[in-house]
Structures are given as structure tokens and as C-alpha cells.
């Protein structure tokens, strides 16, 4: 087995295990940490896919900014460990876990089954050369073909900033 295949399996396993941990952990702090791990694994996968720019962006934005934000909130709110399920929907609650698990399995199974029916998609080796110089290509495409979306996204960020400040502000405006 060559290096890329091994790397793939390693990163994949790491991502899945970390995600499972995020979902299964009771302590939110641990969840956040595990998610950062998962993002790291995904960044490795991006590198394997000849998308270094995306990998770096993943680390910077996701792991560096968003997760830090989560951390701040978790520490600010002093989020406690999660309690056991309350007696809401008394009839269904005991089975909630089971139902959710079943549904998830079904969903996952559906996807796998569907995907398996696709013909094997081999990656084009020649295209690998193109994607190496992907940063310049990405930049060029962003600012010409997708310029409108680019600008719109900036406005979106502005709106999100203002919204976050307004919503999280303490007290009523006078």
C-alpha cells in the first residue's frame, strides 16, 4: 500500500473517531477539542486531494477562528455537563436514543448503498498537475467568475457581525 492510501485511511479514521467523540462526549469542552482534531484530520485529507489552499484555509478559519469562538462561549457560559434526559415526551423519551440511532444508521446506510452503486471514480492523474498551482487559479476564478458571490459574502459577514453584537448584547436599548 502506498503512502497516500495509508495516509487516507489514517486521516479518515481520525476524522470519524473524533466526530463520534464530539457527538458522544458529555463535556462540551472535550467536544470542542475533539472537533478541532477532526478538522485537522480533514485538512490532511484536503492535502491528499491536492487542495493545499483549502487545507490551510480550513485550519485558519475553522480551527483557528470558529473553534476559538466556540471555546470562548463555552468558557463564558460555564456550560455544565449535560444532565440525563428529562421526562419530556415521556412516552418517546426513553426510546429517543434508540430512534435517533436507528435513523442515523438508516441515513448512513442509504448513502453508502447509493454511493456504492456509482461506478468507480478514479481520480485523473493528469489533473493533479493543474491543481497544484491552485492558489492562483482559485484567486483568478474568485475575482472574475464569482466576483458577485465574493462581494455578497463580504456583506454577509458584515451582517453576521452586526447581528451577533445586537443579539448578544446585555440589557435593553434605551
Amino acid at each position: 500500500m502506498d503512502f497516500s492510501a495509508l495516509a487516507f485511511y489514517v486521516f479518515a479514521a481520525l476524522a470519524i473517531l473524533a466526530s463520534l467523540g464530539v457527538v458522544g462526549q458529555r463535556n462540551p469542552m472535550y467536544s470542542v477539542m475533539l472537533l478541532i482534531t477532526s478538522f485537522g484530520a480533514l485538512a490532511g485529507l484536503y492535502v491528499l486531494l491536492d487542495a493545499p489552499f483549502t487545507a490551510v484555509t480550513q485550519i485558519i478559519i475553522y480551527a483557528g477562528a470558529i473553534m476559538v469562538l466556540f471555546l470562548f462561549v463555552v468558557m463564558l457560559l460555564n456550560v455544565p455537563r449535560e444532565e440525563p434526559a428529562p421526562a419530556l415526551f415521556a412516552t418517546l423519551a426513553p426510546h429517543g436514543l434508540k430512534i435517533g440511532a436507528v435513523l442515523s444508521l438508516i441515513l448512513g446506510g442509504e448513502m453508502v448503498w447509493a454511493l456504492k452503486r456509482l461506478p468507480r471514480g478514479w481520480f485523473d492523474q493528469d489533473a493533479a498537475a493543474q491543481s497544484v498551482s491552485s492558489v492562483a487559479l482559485i484567486g483568478k476564478s474568485l475575482f472574475t467568475q464569482h466576483a458577485f458571490a465574493f462581494e455578497a459574502t463580504s456583506i454577509l459577514i458584515l451582517v453576521a457581525m452586526v447581528g451577533a453584537v445586537v443579539i448578544a448584547r446585555r440589557g435593553q436599548p434605551s
Partner: protein, 100 residues
């Protein structure tokens, strides 16, 4: 050899895990984290298929997805903070004002 199918199956699994997390967890923040997992799974799909087709569009889409995810995480966390101030709890079951 690693084929596109491997990546697609992987992202499908990640997506399922994320969905399960949204459904199962009784903590608002953890639910948001699960949503991030889902978004990441989708990102992986895009990049993989973009690589398969030999274009750069997959990465461009991921660029936008990340931006949107950041914005959404920010606003979502602001909401969580506001809600927490109301009820001193982060369990979604406590917020039933929309109940009939």
C-alpha cells in the same frame, strides 16, 4: 487505490454522524458543533468531486461554505448567549415558548 467513492463514503459517514449529533444532544452548543461537522462533510465532498472532475470550482465552493459557516456560527453563538441569559440553561427542551 483511493477512489472518489472512498471520499464520498467518508463524507457520507461524517454527515450522518453530524445529523445524529443534532438530533441526540441536549446541549445547544453541542448541536451547533454537530452542524459544523455536517458542513465539513459537505466541504469534503465538494473538494473530492472537484478533484475528480479536474476543476477548481470545488474549492471555490468550499471557500464560500466556510465563510457562511463562520457567519452562521457567530450568529448562532450570539443567540445561544442570549438564550442562556434568559433561562440559565442550554437544554433545548427549556425553550418551549412556541408550543401551542
Amino acid at each position: 487505490m483511493i477512489t472518489l467513492n472512498h471520499y464520498l463514503i467518508l463524507s457520507a459517514l461524517l454527515f450522518a454522524i453530524g445529523t445524529a449529533g443534532v438530533f441526540l444532544r441536549r446541549n445547544l452548543i453541542t448541536m451547533l458543533l454537530s452542524i459544523e461537522i455536517m458542513l465539513n462533510a459537505v466541504n469534503l465532498t465538494f473538494v473530492a468531486v472537484g478533484r475528480y472532475l479536474g476543476t477548481v470550482d470545488g474549492q471555490i465552493i468550499t471557500f464560500f461554505v466556510m465563510t457562511v459557516a463562520a457567519a452562521e456560527a457567530a450568529v448562532g453563538l450570539a443567540l445561544v448567549i442570549a438564550l442562556f441569559r434568559h433561562r440559565e440553561t442550554l437544554s433545548p427542551d427549556a425553550f418551549t415558548a412556541l408550543k401551542w
